[in-house]
Symmetry: C2
Subunit: 240 residues, 2 copies
DNA sequence: CAGTGGTCTAGACCACGGT
DNA sequence: CCGTGGTCTAGACCACTGG
């Protein structure tokens, strides 16, 4: 169960083991775990190593510690939905819907001023403009306009865009996405919107603007989305 | 600077000292801190103790560690705006607007089923129902319907509600607010909504539902709000 | 009372970054 | 090469919980 000679840190191996035990329901919410000392002895490692694993899992919301009592499996993992920076694809899957795309336009254009400012690149720099209708269970859910710097995200093709852009960025380009600033507002469907989304003119739409940055702070993507008000709710957990 | 005989843990004292150094601009974003070993020696404590303080500050977004280089003051404390659980009053002040209230109704009623379920109390338990129009710079911004258990939030009066409910809950009752689950969706103004908000029927409104819980997990408040789409945007920072 | 998590020590070796 | 953070050890005493 634990490989001391692995390059993977022991505390991380312990974390993974406990996480999978929880996910496979071998450990249920409210269950008490073996004490830190028991764990340490049975694995033949120091108590501090076990403690590091436990601490991380507490911070991630999997476990709860109680002084003088023990360590327990948390009732609900709050962090799961908290501050989730997800792609449309991931978001829909989490909701139990099947996502798909309908690519409307895919252009390489000289960047307009307002976009370039947000991406922190010179005006007129080459930019990919991607217009997609996002479908869930084959029915329109949102319109999405994305802008990415062509000098940063190289080798973008229609194929990639129709599949999953985030997967390409994270898996193939090995970029690690950091944070995003997002704005939500309510608007009304114009004639063009109504057309794409199969709703009436004047229907309620949820407008979402997002600026995504990499972990090193480089702006990655500007996205303007319009979600159907009758099909989409945005959920978020907040902490005081 | 550090009191070893204090009941306050050493790592916590170190945290507070570093935090205040950052807040008073003695340490600026990008500055490198003394190494863990230097800190430990100069304070006469173990390196692991310093490390615990550093680790907590990294998790809170104050510091950034770089393998082989050092520990640095973070550029921007993301957590500041991230996942901000704020009251309407706080929210408006942050935006530079002056908040005020117009109390429409304030009733003590037997709780309807759906509300009581969310508040995790028996059906028909006494509940305060508060209906307010929220103003910013004396112009309508939102309609808010709040529900609170009268057995939990005692001594509520019209005066308190017209001032600031959260202040009463946190300052006077000494409750500490923990987390909230929030849902946002786009809707259309009904005739009644339009009346309260001074907008046209069919105008875009941002509907926000919130369930707030105390730190011990007790549900505190259910709120249904309708914000004017032309005046209000909801902003949030997300982490991957 | 025994067992738990909370804090702390004084070392150790490693992988990494920059000189 | 040296200094950094990353990991790990084998102890220790404390405050708290429960029986």
């Amino acid at each position: 169960m634990i490989d001391k000679n692995s390059p993977v840190p022991i505390y991380f191996q312990i974390e993974e083991y406990i996480k999978s035990s929880i996910e496979q329901n071998e450990l249920r919410p409210g269950d008490m775990l073996p004490s830190e000392r028991e764990y340490a002895e049975s694995l033949g490692v120091s108590r501090m190593t076990v403690r590091q694993a436990f601490t991380n899992l507490v911070n991630e919301g999997y476990l709860v510690r109680q002084k003088g009592r023990g360590t327990f499996v948390a009732n609900q993992k709050i962090e799961q939905s908290l501050s989730g920076l997800t792609s449309f694809t991931e978001d829909m899957k989490q909701r139990g819907l099947t996502p798909s795309n309908q690519l409307i336009t895919f252009h390489l254009i000289p960047g307009p001023k307002n976009i370039c400012e947000k991406l922190e690149i010179p005006e007129h720099s080459p930019i990919y403009e991607i217009l997609r209708v996002r479908l869930a269970d084959d029915s329109p859910m949102a319109i999405e306009r994305s802008y990415l710097s062509a000098n940063l995200v190289k080798g973008l093709t229609e194929d990639i865009v129709e599949h999953s852009l985030y997967e390409y960025i994270e898996r193939t380009l090995q970029f690690s996405i950091g944070t995003a600033t997002q704005t939500l507002e309510a608007t009304i469907a114009s004639e063009e919107d109504a057309d794409f989304l199969h709703v009436d003119v004047g229907a309620a739409l949820l407008g979402i603007q997002r600026l995504t940055k990499l972990e090193n702070g480089t702006p990655l993507e500007v996205v303007y989305s319009l979600y159907r008000g009758d099909r989409y709710k945005f959920m978020i957990d907040l902490k005081r």
